[in-house]
Symmetry: C2
Subunit: 186 residues, 2 copies
């Protein structure tokens, strides 16, 4: 069962479960990454797609609030990064770039260039009380970036394609095709 509301989403009710499903209309290809991002105390939904766009949605209405365009290939990963009490959205793409967006306006603030192959994962890490952005790529490096200046602070060879990363206290863990590396951030 489906009905169209006066917002741009389409609602579906599943008669078996009674759940309301709401289709957020817009993306035209696989959505492989989703994350929550807080703007002015509201939780928004960010989505990344093979259609090369990142979109921000109001989860209460299903409306598309902002379309973040610029990537020229699949967008594979998203994370929120808070610097100076302001939350930014970071996106990693097969176009070899990472972009930092202001979720309040949808504008591209900074472009992180340097990786020479797909950027497959990213996360925020803390180094000496500074928040940096860590990125893992098929180019066999992990890079650490200053989200304020867009400067790449470290290029760390990891010798293998890196499809995953996550932050731990004082450490960055990286998933590889042959196992795991940790990088001491202390």
């Amino acid at each position: 069962m489906a009905s169209a509301g006066n917002d741009r989403s389409v609602r579906l009710w599943d008669p078996a479960t009674g759940c309301e499903l709401r289709r957020l209309e817009g993306h035209t290809d696989w959505v492989r990454a989703l994350c929550a991002v807080t703007v002015d105390n509201h939780t928004l939904l960010a989505s990344a797609s093979d259609d090369r766009s990142v979109r921000l949605w109001d989860p209460a209405t299903g409306c598309e609030l902002r379309r973040l365009e610029g990537h020229t290939d699949w967008v594979r990963a998203l994370c929120a990064v808070t610097v100076d009490n302001h939350t930014l959205l970071a996106s990693a793409s097969d176009d070899r770039t990472v972009r930092l967006w202001d979720p309040a306006t949808g504008s591209e603030l900074r472009r992180l260039e340097g990786h020479t192959d797909w950027v497959r994962a990213l996360c925020a890490v803390t180094v000496n009380n500074h928040t940096l952005l860590a990125t893992a790529s098929n180019d066999r490096t992990v890079r650490l970036w200053d989200p304020i200046t867009a400067r790449c602070c470290f290029v760390i060879p990891v010798y293998h394609p890196a499809p995953a990363c996550t932050a731990l206290p004082g450490l960055l863990a990286v998933g590889l095709d042959v196992g795991i590396l940790t990088i001491d951030l202390a």
Copy 2:
């Protein structure tokens, strides 16, 4: 440069950056998912691999603490689920099952069976003050499970393969091959 310590990990120093890299020895294939899990106030690293195992590591020493074996195909996703003040680790696999593990002992507590294709993503959600586990599968359903009883509470047809999901306040967002669905959990 590399040196072997008295733990089972291998340390590498990168002369260009001064970073210490530590290779956690064990996995024999792609590590596609990593997550932090807290056990007795210690943060451990959980990893999921195409080698069909999930492993728990002490990030301070690089030692493999526990090997969680049982999945019969690639393990694609991990998340921590806290029920009754006890944190469990959930793993999603191409073997169509989700397993719940006690990270303190490494034992498989419960097996969530029902999906008929790869389980590609999972996250914890809150429904009526109860913590449930949401799973998204290539079988074109999202399922909600009670982590205590292993019972599947809801099977929600989403009409498309579902490679991503994330929790938002009162909602579950699901990434599909054609866009996004949200499921109202209120």
